[in-house]
């Protein structure tokens, strides 16, 4: 794959990828930081972009793939418009995070780690957000919702759903 590869195949702008790599001085030991920055751009790691980076930095694609699957923060799948994180840290767990997750799974129709077919929601769990005093905590698109209950979680999803689906 050469540098002329179309952006469609890369899954993102070639210039963006180049920009991220030059920010890290094309340093192959900074590969994790490069992947983090790429993911910040498009919310996931497109296969084309991974192949492109591997070739440009002269790292085997298999290694880039193993990094992208080893670290929990990376996603190889595109994510939905609304990113819902349920904190399942210990403090949230003992305060009932499990029931919150059940409710969110039921209301969105997807399991943790999945994105729905309409690309509305991605539901993910996170080990701890360090906001334990507010537990159980749910973060929707970066906004924190504390002291959650099943009923509050259900209302949250209903509010996010596009009008025509209601």
């Amino acid at each position: 794959m050469g540098q002329s590869t179309a952006n469609v195949e890369l899954g993102m702008e070639q210039a963006t990828i180049e920009g991220v790599m030059s920010r890290h001085r094309q340093d192959s030991s900074a590969i994790i930081a490069i992947l983090q920055d790429l993911q910040e751009e498009v919310n996931y790691l497109p296969e084309g972009a991974l192949r492109y980076v591997a070739e440009r930095l002269d790292i085997p694609v298999s290694k880039v793939y193993s990094l992208a699957t080893f670290y929990r923060a990376f996603s190889l799948e595109p994510r939905g418009r609304h990113l819902i994180h349920v904190c399942t840290g210990t403090a949230c767990h003992v305060r009932g995070a499990g029931r919150i997750l059940d409710t969110l799974e039921r209301e969105t129709g997807i399991h943790a780690g999945e994105t729905d077919a309409q690309m509305e929601f991605t539901l993910e769990t996170v080990n701890c957000l360090g906001a334990c005093a507010l537990g159980p905590v749910v973060v929707v698109n970066g906004e924190y919702f504390g002291q959650m209950t099943g009923a509050k979680a259900a209302r949250l999803v209903k509010k996010l759903q596009p009008a025509e689906q209601e």
Partner: protein, 617 residues
């Protein structure tokens, strides 16, 4: 900003910083740690700035956003100096009144004060709030006073004086000796003596040497490192520079969780400011020593908190631990001598250099010196960060500082040490908290998470929870860990689903021994602790799951039944509207009934009912 080229320059800057701060000038400090941010402190801060301007007090009052004050339960927290008036749960709509009455006229607003839970008395000053009164704050001492993005605030409070003293008046060996004598032990979990680690790294052959700060705070329920980096990043940096000088290192890294964006941001600002003043980089303070630090963001893998895995990750590899035939102080990052210490360990260093090892060794117990920050969370009234001298009892932390268990429920256990730790029962609450006592009780200090559990917490479910966490986080490289955890989890899930078998407990114990004895790294070696410690103290709960098919705490879904207490139900119908199954029926104003064949035990009715009429058995 001019580069400081001598310790005298630093003192001159300090004098200027102090002169610009009038200790009598009123100052509103708004806690802007993550807990309070989530609670809406930003809006409160904006409201203060606008309102102070509007009421014409702009020249007379300062507004400062600070790091975490620790009392997250009461956020957003506002403290008004110089008096130290403590206001809790401050919302933007409260601000005009605070500005007009407290700042304008000096009156205290009663409804924003903290109420003593036992006496019902209103407490005006932060220093009198029991949550703070019983703490001994060293690491968190300045969090409530300084703006973490402003290096001058840190310098005004004595910042970098330890660095100047170390570089100017002490030999590296002398520093190591001071740290050794102080008795400082690693705050990341294992409690290895810090001075000895430094010494081994200094004496190891090979160049360059690396100094690393472990800020990959992966323990769920622990956030003290985050608060330190967010609230006082220079204290960590100063400790690292002193350590680097003692070890003979010129390059350092901070490996920080990417889930902590504010910590990453404040740390990056701190590095920039320190470089601009010549406190970091080439020829620090004109004293000939050079050292610089880079930030590496973690990828969300718990195992990367382990030293060898962290170093592999820093090199840009998958974070798999390696066997420790050779220690990382000899061959660590890029096979060079590397010293890795936790955030809190580093932050202790400037204090020890400034106040002397004798002072530090005077705090704590025989084997565990100094203070420790704990994140006191879970089923406890005063959730937050508490810093106490080591040797204090669990009861003092949970009941005197933490204010006990909410809702009048009964304390059951406290979990310390994260997924590698264990659960400690009520009978041991008077145990002193230090590295050795916790280990004797089958738990560990860990990084300082303290999760309080009450009678509604199922200990089998807690063990299952941790094993599930560890199964996901095990890197899978060694078989004992990969298989041992997965098989243990299978058994625990079986128990929680009411399918337990009679030999299961013995099997769990056997798997625990396998994990402890044969796993490659600390993750696997300690993975059985949550199971073994709960089995040790709460065996009857395991047996109830197997023999009676009951979950005494009312948590495990397969073993519980939801019902409505006819005596308490007034038929308001709130649960009927919320039940996702349409499984509750009843006449208006008459007791309702749950249809058991439809109930999925989601608990929405329990959350909804305001009259405590939903029962779980």
């Amino acid at each position: 900003m001019e580069k400081l080229t001598s310790p005298q320059d630093l003192e001159r800057l300090r004098a200027t910083c102090l002169a610009s701060l009038d200790p009598h000038k009123p100052c509103v400090t708004v806690c802007s740690g993550t807990g309070c941010l989530a609670g809406g402190c930003k809006q409160a801060t904006d409201a203060f700035r606008q309102e102070i301007e509007r009421q014409g007090l702009a020249d007379k009052v300062d507004v400062r956003t600070t790091g975490c004050h620790g009392f997250c339960e009461r956020g957003p927290v506002v403290v008004i100096h110089p008096q130290g008036i403590f206001y809790q749960h401050v919302k933007p709509e409260d601000v005009p009144q605070v500005v007009a009455e407290t700042l304008g006229q000096g009156n205290v607003i009663d409804r924003l004060l903290y109420t003593h839970p036992q006496t019902g008395e209103k407490i005006t000053y932060e220093r009198d709030v029991p949550f703070y009164q019983l703490q001994k704050r060293l690491i968190l001492a300045d969090n409530g006073f300084i703006d973490p993005t402003c290096i001058e605030d840190y310098i005004a409070r004595g910042g970098y004086s330890g660095l100047a003293r170390a570089l100017h008046t002490m030999q590296p060996e002398e520093i190591i000796d001071v740290i050794k004598r102080s008795g400082l032990r690693g705050r990341g979990g294992a409690g290895f003596p810090t001075g000895r680690k430094w010494e081994s790294c200094r004496n190891a052959e090979g160049e360059p040497k690396y100094v690393i700060c472990n800020a990959d705070e992966g323990d769920p329920g622990a956030y003290m490192n985050r608060s330190t980096l967010e609230g006082n990043p220079h204290s960590v940096l100063e400790g690292m520079i002193i350590g680097a000088y003692a070890i003979g290192s010129h390059e350092g890294y901070v490996y920080v969780r990417n889930e902590y964006p504010l910590a990453v941001k404040n740390l990056a600002l701190a590095l920039e400011a320190a470089r601009a003043y010549g406190l970091l980089g080439k020829d620090i303070l004109g004293l000939g020593f050079s050292f610089d630090v880079r930030i590496a963001r973690g990828g969300g893998a718990f195992v990367c908190g382990e030293s060898s895995a962290l170093m592999r990750s820093l090199e840009g590899n998958v974070g798999e631990p390696s066997a420790k035939y050779v220690r990382s102080v000899e061959r660590g990052l890029w096979d060079k001598p590397s010293d890795l210490n936790n955030v809190e360990t580093w932050a202790n260093v400037p204090h020890i250099i400034n106040k002397g090892w004798e002072w530090f060794a005077g705090l704590g117990t025989a084997g565990s010196k100094g203070t420790k920050v704990f994140s006191l969370v879970g089923k406890v009234n005063n959730t937050g960060l508490v810093e106490v001298p080591l040797g204090i009892t669990l009861r003092q932390i949970i009941f005197d500082i933490g204010g006990g268990i909410p809702g009048g429920r009964k304390f059951k256990a406290v979990q310390t040490g994260g997924p590698s730790g264990g659960c400690i029962p009520e009978s041991m609450l008077d145990m002193s908290v230090d590295f050795d006592e916790l280990a004797k009780a089958g738990s560990m200090m860990g990084s300082g998470g303290m999760i309080v559990m009450d009678e509604r917490t199922c200990m089998v479910d807690v063990a299952r929870y941790f094993l599930n966490f560890l199964r996901e986080e095990s890197c899978g490289k060694c078989t004992p860990c990969r298989e041992g955890i997965a098989r243990s989890l299978e058994i625990l899930e079986r128990l929680c689903n009411g399918k337990g078998q009679s030999g299961d407990i013995a099997l769990l114990e056997e798997l625990g021994e396998l994990l402890q004895g044969f796993s490659l790294c600390g993750l696997g070696q300690t993975a059985a602790n949550p199971v073994l410690s709960t089995l040790r103290y709460f065996r009857d709960e395991y047996e109830a799951h197997i023999r009676e098919l009951k979950c005494p705490a009312g948590v495990c879904k397969a073993l519980i039944v939801y019902s409505i207490d006819a005596a308490r139900c007034n038929g308001c119908g709130a649960c009927v509207r919320q039940c996702p199954q349409g499984g509750i029926s009843g006449q208006k104003k008459a007791p309702h009934v749950i249809k058991q064949d439809l109930c999925i035990r989601c608990g929405v009715c329990l959350d909804t009912c305001k009259f405590g009429a939903v029962l779980v058995q």
